[in-house]
């Protein structure tokens, strides 16, 4: 009977056969990375893609992706990707960054890349903390969030207000697509994938800088069970980091 | 005499806690001690270990060359550290999950179903059961020191766990 069944889900092409996902249980990175791989495969661009890894829990892209990958120093992935794209304009180039990387140490690089309208795609996983180093507060941590460096919850008097990455980037004229999505339910995952797909289509069409911020769970940093972490996204994080498409030139200029 | 102990297992098995409690107990007894955790790639790979030294004299090197005691909570731990044990060393292995059989004949083994013992206690903790067992078998530190270290460390970490810790310790000690 099995032969009559259709495969409705499989591991996407751009993964290594013996891949190794170095993430904690319930970590949002896993889903986002799979969505990227699915999009690359669907758009038939994975064989001409060069990925830029950044510093954070995602750093070891080469442990699972069967892609060409260059690693950037902390915060500098947009620059590295710029160098790649300018020297190989016919390739598809993306950066994969955390919020610590893209919005804390590396916002300047991100912003200027957006201003330049660099024709690359950036996927930024915002888990509102520094996962890799042990769950410290990052620029995007929401008020009240308990982290390793805000043990009584983020207090704006002491540690200021959260940075809103997508809002800031959509203010840059060179940005052609800016969206904030989240990973907390199958529905939200479908929307996230659609945004990621647009961000790559944007690059294929040469429209300029495309940016997708994905709110995703870091159960370890948040000290929550994985399923609770998804609730936290839905009920808390997205109240501060509002989901939506902030800019979309793919429609108007396609 | 300087004694060196390696404790190794899965990330979640509490081997680092075992180590710090042991070091704390040694300090309570006025001994010198050092504790070094593993961190980095290994921990990300789901494994953890720590090295403890205990001595009456100043401890120069905190790094263990060949350990006098090995506490191994899973196969990977056995695999990795068995070969680095000193001649005549004692290995305590958690035979509840370790499948590998002892391979050295110049080392003494106590392969015990520590996991089963822990599961037998309400909220039993594998690492503390093992700690109790280790203290009893080696008498490297006194039971009182072990208990007051446990108390100190539990208070710091999570006072609610103290009872569970003591129950586990006693169960292991009696094993």
């Amino acid at each position: 009977m099995e032969q009559t069944l259709q495969q409705v889900f499989k591991r996407p092409e751009p993964y290594k056969k013996n891949y190794n996902y170095p993430f904690c249980a319930g970590c949002g990175h896993g889903v986002v990375l799979r969505l990227i791989a699915e999009v690359l495969e669907e758009l038939k661009i994975h064989t001409k893609t060069i990925a830029t890894a950044s510093v954070g829990c995602s750093i070891n892209l080469d442990k699972f992706y069967n892609l060409d990958i260059v690693g950037a120093d902390h915060g500098r992935a947009p620059c590295v990707a710029t160098g790649v794209k300018r020297s190989k304009p016919d390739k598809i180039v993306f950066t994969y960054q955390g919020d610590g990387d893209a919005a804390t140490i590396g916002f300047n690089e991100l912003m200027h890349t957006a201003l330049r309208g660099e024709n690359i795609t950036t996927i930024c996983v915002n888990n509102t903390n520094f996962g890799m180093t042990g769950g410290q507060a990052s620029a995007t941590s929401i008020l009240g969030q308990v982290t390793a460096t805000t043990k009584n919850g983020r207090d704006p008097k002491i540690s200021g207000y959260p940075a809103k990455i997508s809002e800031m980037i959509s203010n840059c004229d060179g940005a052609a697509f800016v969206a904030r999505v989240a990973i907390f339910s199958p529905q939200s995952i479908i929307k996230a994938k659609a945004a990621i797909k647009k961000a790559f289509e944007c690059q294929i069409k040469g429209l300029g800088f495309a940016f997708v911020e994905v709110i995703a769970a870091c159960p370890t940093g948040w000290k929550l069970k994985p399923v609770q972490a998804l609730e936290y996204i839905k009920n808390e994080v997205t109240k501060v980091h509002r989901l939506g498409i902030f800019k979309d030139f793919t429609e108007s200029m396609a | 005499m300087e004694k060196s102990i390696i404790i190794a297992g899965y990330g979640g098995q509490g081997v680092l806690f075992f180590g710090t409690t042991l070091a704390q107990a040694a300090m309570i007894e006025g001994k010198n001690t050092t504790w070094i955790p593993s961190y980095g790639a290994e921990m990300r790979g789901g494994h953890a270990n720590c090295s403890v030294k205990i001595s009456d004299n100043e401890i120069a090197s905190p790094i263990i060359d060949n350990a006098d005691y090995g506490i191994f909570l899973n196969d990977k731990a056995m695999e990795k550290f068995e070969k680095t044990m000193a001649k005549g060393a004692l290995v305590i292995g958690n035979s509840s999950i370790i499948e590998k059989s002892p391979s050295r004949d110049d080392v003494n083994y106590l392969m015990v179903k520590l996991g089963d013992c822990a599961q037998g206690i309400e909220g039993g903790l594998l690492n503390i059961v093992t700690f109790g067992y280790f203290v009893n078998k080696t008498q490297i530190i006194k039971k009182e020191s072990a208990l007051s270290a446990l108390e100190f460390v539990s208070k710091k970490k999570n006072p609610a766990f103290l009872k569970r810790n003591i129950d586990s310790f006693e169960a292991g000690y009696k094993l």
Binding site: Q136, A137, T150, I158 | T20, T34, D65
Partner: protein, 366 residues
């Protein structure tokens, strides 16, 4: 003072607090995260400043700001992120602004690995900043010493108005051992009235504006400044050198090593001595000022110096410059986060004594 069991990183943080550190600025990086995390609760608790800076560039420049007012302040970080601070460290030295930088080395180069290493000797001691300047660099080898040297870092930074670095490795940061924690500062406080910024003041306090700059354009202004600062450096070299000399007097072989590795070497020296091999340990505690004269005097007429480092050979350059060809220098090191244990050093000593036939009663004893 009773002892407490503490992680090196936390002991350093507490020592800084006790020394009177008013501001901590930092950005996480393994293997020193415990420093920032400790500070994030303790400093706020006692009404001092903790800032989770947006980067190490930001942190070290906040340090400059606090230092410019004569305030005790520190930042901490590791390897690749200390590399990011090089411009600021050089600027601090030029503007003569004090500040303490805790550097807990991990393996390099690049992002490398988070395992322990000593491969940032060049970075710390030779300086990756531009121009002629020096950073005071202290290298503890036990947690108790780290506590003392942390406090001393504040003292030296203030006294000489110079960036001062405590250089530890991942092991020292991550390990625990019982430590005596001095209640307050083990060093006297330094008066900053003559130079610190606090506004030009009113009435009788009124004075002319002061400036602390790292830019000095025009004619020979910078040349004169550099010469003045180098006089200060000469003073530091004269007064502040620290080192440990362990069983060197009658030794044939002198091991040079710093930090954790020196501890490991000490175990090996003890083991070798038990076998009758005459070996001693010379441990620089200040990496700059490097104890050149002292090493030269110690190693004079010895058979050989064996330099041991957790890198491909960095301090060895200063060892060679100090010895100026007077004694042969051998090297044993590991790189990339690999660790050296005392048997390896012991074997190296043995090899050396056999090969070169150092040590008179050697043949007999082995």
């Amino acid at each position: 003072m009773s002892k407490i069991l503490m992680k090196g990183n936390e002991a350093i943080a507490q020592a800084a607090i006790n020394a009177g550190c008013q501001c901590y600025f930092g950005y996480p990086i393994t293997p020193q995260n415990e420093i920032g995390e400790y500070m994030s609760s303790k400093m706020i608790e006692i009404g001092r400043t903790y800032i989770s800076a947006e980067s190490e560039l930001a942190a070290v420049n906040m340090l400059i700001g606090a230092g410019s007012t004569g305030t005790l302040a520190m930042t901490s970080s590791s390897s690749c992120a200390i590399a990011l601070m090089q411009e600021a460290i050089s600027s601090m030295a030029t503007a003569e602004i004090p500040g303490v930088i805790i550097s807990v080395m991990r393996a390099g180069p690049g992002l490398g690995d988070i395992t322990p290493s000593q491969a940032d000797y060049f970075q710390s001691v030779k300086g990756g900043g531009n121009g002629d300047y020096r950073t005071i660099v202290l290298a503890p080898s036990t947690i108790s010493e780290a506590v003392l040297l942390t406090q001393k870092s504040f003292y030296l930074a203030m006294k000489y108005r110079n960036p001062t670095m405590l250089l530890a490795d991942g092991i020292l940061g991550q390990m625990m051992e019982p430590v005596e924690m001095p209640e307050g500062n083990a060093f006297s406080t330094v008066n900053t009235d003559e130079w610190a910024l606090d506004g030009t003041g009113e009435g009788a306090q009124k004075r002319d504006g002061r400036s602390l700059m790292s830019l000095h354009m025009g004619d020979d202004i910078l040349e004169r400044l550099n010469h003045r600062i180098f006089k200060k450096y000469a003073q530091i070299e004269e007064k502040e050198v620290m080192y440990e000399n362990y069983l060197c007097d009658d030794a044939d072989i002198i091991i040079t090593a710093f930090g954790t590795v020196a501890r490991v070497a000490k175990s090996a020296v003890n083991a070798a001595r038990e076998k009758g091999i005459k070996v001693g340990l010379f441990r620089p505690i200040t990496l700059w000022p490097f104890p050149s004269k002292e090493l030269f005097a110690t190693a004079k007429n010895k058979k050989c110096v064996l330099d041991i480092e957790l890198n491909m050979g960095q301090m060895i350059q200063d060892v060679k410059i100090a010895l100026n060809g007077s004694v042969p220098v051998e090297f044993f090191g590991k790189t990339g986060g690999a660790i050296i244990n005392s048997s390896e050093i012991y074997n190296k000593i043995l090899e050396l004594s056999k090969e070169k036939q150092y040590g008179t009663n050697l043949a007999a004893s082995i």
